[in-house]
Each structure stands twice: as C-alpha cells, then as structure tokens.
C-alpha cells in the first residue's frame, strides 16, 4: 500500500499527498539513457538555439553593483554581438537566424530596479531571489517583505527556497504553508520554488518536496540555489519532471522546471533537452516551461553554434565573459 501525508489546503480541505516511491538505481539508469542520445546537424542547432533562449543569467554576489547587473543584462539581450555573428555567418555562407536573447536575468531584490530598466522592452524576464536566499533561515514575515519589495521593484519572477529544516523534521505543512504565503505575496509574478535537492538526501525526498511545492502553487520547481556544491543532475531533474508529469496528468496544470547549477556544457544542456522532450513532450520545450540556471553554459552554447555553422572549433575567448 502507498503511504500518504495529509496536507491542509488553503481552502481548508485536507488532501492526501502520496509518498511516491523512487528507486535511485532505476532513475540513474534512465537518466543516463539520455546521455546516449546523439544529437546532430539540424537537431543540434535547434537544440542550441532553444537552450540559449532558456538560460537564466544570474548574478548573486555580495559584491553585485548596478553596473555589473547592467553588463549582464546587455549579455542577456545579445549573448553575442549581432554584427560579429552576421559577419561570421556571411563568411561561412550560412543563412541562420540571429542568436536569441536569454530567458531571464536573476538578481537580488536590491538590484531588480536596475535590471528592469536595462531590459525594458526586450521581453526578458527579471527574476529575483527573495525569501532570505540562500539559507531560507529567516522569519516568514521577513521573507514576505523580501518578496513584496522585489515584486514592487518590477520582478516578474520570484525564486524562493524551501525551508529544508522544516522539511527534514517532518513539518511538511509548514513548508507547504510558507510556499502558499509567498505565492500569494508574488501576485502576478511567477514563483519558482527551489528545493535545494543537494540537501534533501534522497530522491524520494526530492519527489515529495516537488509534490509539496507543486500542490502549494509553484509555477516552476527548481533544483538548487547554486550556493552549495551539489547542484542539478539528470537523475534529480528526472524525478522532478516525473512529478510535473503526474501533476499535469491529474490536473491539466503545467508546472515549469529549472535545473540550476552544474550544467556547464552544451552537451549536458542537450541531454537535459532530450530528457524534457522525451519525458514531458513538446509543450515544455520553451522558455515559458523550462529554464537553465546556468550562466557559464551560455558561452559553451555559443561556441557550439559557431562550430555548427563554420565547422570549426572555437575557444572560450571568442565570446565575452559577460
């Protein structure tokens, strides 16, 4: 028999949430399967472009300044100089679309205003980590205040991190209620719920945390803060995708997915895309439903685009750092 945890929903009703079993070896095997996909030619170029459009460029440093944020926004709009790109295409005789902009930039609440101004009219989203990022170990009213400030400053996406302490001690209702409260504070802004899977300890907990976050109204679920060494992996992402898939099947609501941290190469990114495509399908193959929280990734994607177009390998310095 399956076990359930009863969760009190915002409308006062009780909902039994199943504790879904997950077999780590099986998940890992399935996840590794996607690394054997061999994506070439048109498929590869399409995947590279799509991946670029899914990147969330992030700066979350104590040393962030407005200027640093503005520079990152410029890179977000044009990951590579459109002029230089056109020249390269012309020289290779290739007729390809311009490189797309990335999906979003992600900054601390204090820097939201700067980013909003820099990205005005581009369609690029401004995301902000609120809720006492990254530890999440502050009182709820402070988290809510954090969120409100970011939303008021113009953030259209909020990245929150769940209370792992509460989760590990079995206070699932507290975790749930907090997400619900923050979701309310978000208003129209999209809520990405970071599970910080590297601290959850097992794939079963990743699955249950995913289910909790989805039930609590998360628009996206996200693996990691990027502030601890253990970040996104294919197996962890697969478990989260399956939670999304089950929820979609049950309710018709589509929840987005964002693996963050640890994805550094185009090859890795393509494995993720294969997985999303084969597990969730075409409806998730866009920046509205899938993001990469991986700033370093962007330049490798560009490098591979160049390689596809020119047939030559490019070195890192072909592209600006940020």
């Amino acid at each position: 028999m399956r076990d359930f945890i009863n969760i009190k929903m915002p409308n006062g009703s009780e909902k039994p949430l199943p504790l879904v079993s997950v077999d780590k070896v099986g998940v890992t095997e399935r996840a590794n399967f996607f690394t054997t996909r061999s994506i070439k030619k048109d498929s590869k170029l399409w995947a590279l472009y799509t991946a670029i459009s899914m990147v969330d460029l992030t700066t979350l440093e104590g040393a962030d300044t407005d200027d640093r944020v503005r520079q990152m926004c410029a890179k977000a709009i044009h990951p590579v100089s459109p002029y230089l790109f056109q020249e390269m295409c012309r020289q290779s005789g290739a007729a390809v679309e311009p490189i797309p902009s990335v999906a979003a930039v992600c900054v601390y609440p204090n820097r939201v205003k700067t980013a909003v101004a820099a990205l005005k009219g581009t369609g690029i989203q401004v995301a902000s980590v609120a809720t006492g990022f990254p530890a999440g170990q502050v009182a709820l009213d402070i988290k809510l205040q954090d969120v409100k400030q970011a939303v008021e400053a113009g953030a259209s996406e909020i990245d929150m991190v769940i209370d792992r302490g509460a989760f590990h001690s079995g206070r699932y209702q507290d975790v749930f209620d907090e997400i619900v409260a923050i979701k309310t504070a978000c208003g129209d802004a999209h809520l990405k719920v970071i599970l910080e899977t590297g601290e959850l300890g097992s794939l079963e907990k990743v699955r249950f945390a995913s289910d909790l976050a989805i039930q609590a109204g998360a628009d996206f679920i996200k693996t990691s803060t990027g502030k601890i060494p253990s970040a996104a992996s294919l197996p962890v992402t697969l478990v989260m995708l399956q939670a999304i898939s089950d929820h979609y099947q049950a309710t018709g609501r589509k929840v987005g997915m964002k693996p963050a941290g640890g994805i550094r190469t185009a090859k890795q990114a393509i494995h993720y895309l294969c997985m999303v495509s084969e597990v969730l399908g075409a409806e998730w193959m866009n920046p509205q439903m899938f993001r990469f929280g991986a700033s370093v990734l962007l330049n490798d994607l560009l490098r591979q685009v160049y390689k596809q177009i020119t047939g030559r390998y490019y070195y890192t310095k072909a592209f600006s750092l940020d």
Binding site: G26, R37, S38, A282, I309, G311
Partner: protein, 506 residues
C-alpha cells in the same frame, strides 16, 4: 554503401543549417537528425568458409547460403553450409586438439589465451558492434553498450577461472569433458558465442560451435580473433549452417558435451536424440517470464523496467518480461504511463545511435510475430501500439505493442512470441501474482517491483524461475549464473555455477 556513408559525412560538414527556422519543437525527440554509426570500420568478405583447425576450410557440401542485413534486406555475404562430413572433420579436429594440445595446456596458459581473446575483443569492440548490428538488426546502442562489453567481460571472467578451478569445487578433483558441441541462437549472436566458448575453454574443453544461420558473421570474426590470439589450432572450431548442421553436430558420436541455446521445441528434440549416449547436456531454452508490478512499487522506474523487459533487443530475448502482471489498484496508472512512454520509443535504422528498437531478425520471425499479434487481436484484450513514428519502408520492422486485460488462458499469455509484444493481466494479492507467474511450463526469469523488502524476498523465493530481477530487469553479468527451471532448460551459464556443466567433478 561505403561511398554513401562518406558522402553523408561530407554533408554533415558542409550542410548549412537553418537554425531556429526549424520547427522541431513539435516533438523534438521524434525528429532527432539521423546519427549514423559509420559502417566503414567493418569489412565483410564476399564469402566465408568454415573455421576448422585454425584454417578456413571450404565445405565439402560445396554449398553456400546468403546472410542478410534484416534492416535493409541486402545480402551481406555467403556462408558455407557445413554438412555431416564437415561436422565430422570439425569434431575430429577438436578431438585431436583436445588430446594432443589443450588437455596438456596448463590452467595458467589457458587463462592467458582467454585474457588475450578478451583484450582483442575490446580492441575491436566498435567494429564488432557495427558488424553485429548489420547482421542481426539490433540497435547499435545495444551492441555498443550491452553486447560487446558483456562479450569481453565473459572472456575476462572465465579467463581468471582457468587456473583456479580447484577453488570452484573445494575438496573435489575436476577434469574437462573433452569436445563440446555448442549450438547458439541468433538473438545475441556474439554474446551467446562468448557464453559458450569462454567457460568451455577455461575448463579445458575444446569446442565446435555452430552459429545461427542468420547471424554467423560475428562468430566468424571471433574465429579470427581466436587465431589472432594465438589459440592453438583446433581448440575452437566454428561452423555455419542451419538446423541440419546443428543436428549433425550434437549427434556426432565423438562429442562429450552438448550445449544448446534456442527454442524449447528443438531442446526437446536434442534431449531425446542424445538420450542413449553419455553426452552431458545443458539447455537454455524459451520462456514466458512474468513481470510483476505491485502497488507499492516505484511506478515510474517500474515502467522503465517494463520497457526494458519486453522491448529490449526487439523482444528477441529468451528471458523477456513478456507477461506483465499488475496489481489491479495501480493498473490504470501503469498502463497510462506505459502508453505515454512508448510514444517516445524510436523504431528505425539500427545503425542510428538514437534508435531504441531495430529490425526484427528475419522475415520468418516477423511473420511469426505478426501472426501471433493477429491471433491476439481476435482473442480478448485491448491492443495498443504507439501512434508516433513510422517504420522504415525496407527491412523487417515491428512496432512495440501490448495487449491489455488479457486472460491468463489466452494464446498470447501462453506462447513465447519472441518479439516486442507484451500482455497485461491484473492480480489482487501476492499469492495470486505468484500463482499466475508460475502458471507456465517455462521457468526462466521473473521480475518483481515493490518497495517492500520482505515482500520481494517472499515472492522471489516462491517463483519457479532461474533468474529473478527485483526492481530491475534484463540485467546480465558474467559473474551471475543464468538458466531456467522446468521447460526453460537446465544447467547454468555464468558465475561459478557456469563451470560445472563443462567439468567432471570427482
């Protein structure tokens, strides 16, 4: 074909992609651009002779038969048909090699030869994988990631036993049997050759192996490798031909041991034919293995297990989990997820690295599968096959499919289909699952999915099957004994237990 490949290669280099103009977003994975493994590494001769006594010997029948690429129907080569006289020569040669050389070769030296063969297989692994794919029709992904690594591993594993047999049977004296006659099937051609030859040589026997008539090329490549490894002439002899050749081999009066992998029907014929003799016999035969999903299973992984259980190698697997038994309370969920998962399976050119299901091995097999599917459609049960994907126009292909809500008594629940066809039946209690699982004359394998350890052990021990996969399926390893109960045959291959059929233990 070679020139085509080269041309394709150039196209890859120069093709001007249109980038984002492409709308692959519809179903990205259904439109992965072809990623073909190059055939150039493989050289197939126009004709092959018999490998006897370390040399290529023309058949005394003077007859040759074609071998095809099942994915295209093209003739790959002509193989010699060994007749009774050729079989006799092969057995005599093996006997001589046994008496004069191999029985006097130390365990240490036998071990060295096997290690060398293992190394050479690793060295030529990519070539052999491509060759196997071309000859058999199974996807390159499987030959590359499953067959070939296991082939090398089997030689490595058994190599190490050759000089340690006294530890395998402590307190006993062991001796080789002599000449082993081995007949192998077409579903894992090189792997089955390895399963047969490696333990036979490690234990000090010499071998005459008959490859399956539709898939002999990798066995002939293995013959070449044996020669390359410096294995003394006549220790391994590889002959080609159909059923008659196999019959002549197992019935030859001078073989001491018969090892056969194939159908139960033929297994019984062999058992009867050699009944009056003192020949030792091991048989690895058919199956209709039950795959049980309990309600407390990790369902998503179980669905992967189901896929791997029945659609691995086009379902041409003797231990395929072909009878799915699902606890009724989760049956709808499992079936729904299975259907969704099947939509992402890619059937097509076996040489494409993204192909999940390749070609059915022969026209005959394809017709047999189609006939059984037609019978299934007449009987009760809901038929399902994925809507996605189109089958190649040439070659022998079959979509993965299943019949849901099939009665235990139905034809498809009883007979071995040996193709990508699954039946689904529900159960309510573990007792019912066990009794349904055991409700077959076969007893090769079974699968159990449950997160409850005590239940797994209880069910596993109640199953009449030689291999039980709990929370996994279709896993193989040279250290792991494999073989069936009841009409799935007898004897074990692999592990310490796999040595016994090739030894006299006193």
């Amino acid at each position: 074909m070679k020139t085509e490949t080269a041309k394709q290669g150039r196209e890859t280099m120069t093709k001007k992609s249109t980038g984002k103009n492409l709308d692959l977003s519809k179903e990205f994975h259904q439109h992965y651009a072809p990623s073909l493994e190059s055939r150039e590494i493989v050289k197939i001769a126009e004709r092959y002779e018999l490998f006897i006594g370390g040399r290529w010997v023309k058949p005394q029948t003077k007859e040759y038969f074609p071998t095809l690429n099942p994915a295209t129907g093209e003739v790959l080569s002509q193989l010699a048909r060994a007749g009774a006289a050729d079989v006799d020569l092969a057995v005599k040669t093996a006997r001589q090699a046994y008496t004069k050389v191999w029985s006097k070769t130390s365990g240490r030296d036998r071990s060295r030869y096997l290690f060398r063969i293992a190394r050479l297989i690793q060295e030529r692994s990519r070539e052999l994988a491509v060759l196997e794919t071309i000859d058999n029709g199974k996807p390159i992904k499987e030959t590359r990631d499953v067959d070939l690594p296991l082939v090398a591993a089997h030689f490595f594993y058994n190599a190490g036993w050759a000089d340690k047999l006294e530890y395998a049977f402590p307190g006993k004296k062991v001796a080789p049997l002599g000449v082993a006659a081995q007949v192998i099937p077409w579903n894992f051609p090189l792997l089955m050759a390895a399963w047969k030859i490696a333990p036979a040589l490690a234990t000090g026997n010499t071998v005459v192996l008959k490859a399956a008539e539709t898939t002999s090329l990798t066995a002939l490549a293995l013959a070449e490798i044996c020669a390359q490894a410096g294995l003394p002439d006549g220790v391994v002899n590889i002959i080609t031909g159909a059923g008659e050749t196999g019959a002549a081999l197992v019935n030859h009066p001078d073989v001491n041991k018969v090892a056969f992998t194939g159908s139960t029907e033929v297994g019984k014929i062999i058992a009867r034919a050699i009944a009056p003799t003192k020949k030792r016999l091991t048989l690895e035969l058919g199956g209709k293995s039950a795959h049980m999903i309990f309600a407390d299973a990790a369902i998503d992984q179980a669905v992967e297990g189901i896929i791997n259980g029945i659609y691995f190698n086009q379902g041409h697997v003797c231990c395929a989990g072909s009878r799915l038994l699902v606890e009724e309370s989760v049956a709808d969920e499992v079936v729904r997820k299975l259907k969704k998962r099947m939509e992402s399976i890619r059937v097509g050119n076996p040489l494409d690295k993204n192909t999940d299901i390749g070609a059915i091995n022969s026209q005959g097999e394809l017709e047999k599968i189609k006939k059984l599917v037609a019978i299934g459609k007449q009987e009760e049960g809901e038929f399902f096959e994925p809507a996605s994907g189109t089958l190649p126009s040439k070659g022998y292909f079959h979509k993965p499919c299943f019949f849901n809500r099939v009665a235990s008594s139905s034809t498809l629940n009883r007979v071995e289909i040996f193709g990508p066809v699954l039946t689904i039946t529900t159960f309510r209690t573990p007792e019912e699952a066990i009794s349904k699982a055991n409700d077959t004359p076969y007893g090769l394998a079974a699968g159990i999915w449950s997160e409850k350890g005590s239940k797994i052990h209880q069910v596993a021990s109640a199953l009449k099957a030689g291999v039980v996969w709990a929370n996994t399926y279709n896993k193989f390893d040279p250290t792991s004994p494999f073989g069936g109960y009841n009409e799935s045959g007898f004897g074990r291959e692999g592990g310490r237990h796999g040595l016994f059929p090739y030894l006299e233990v006193k």
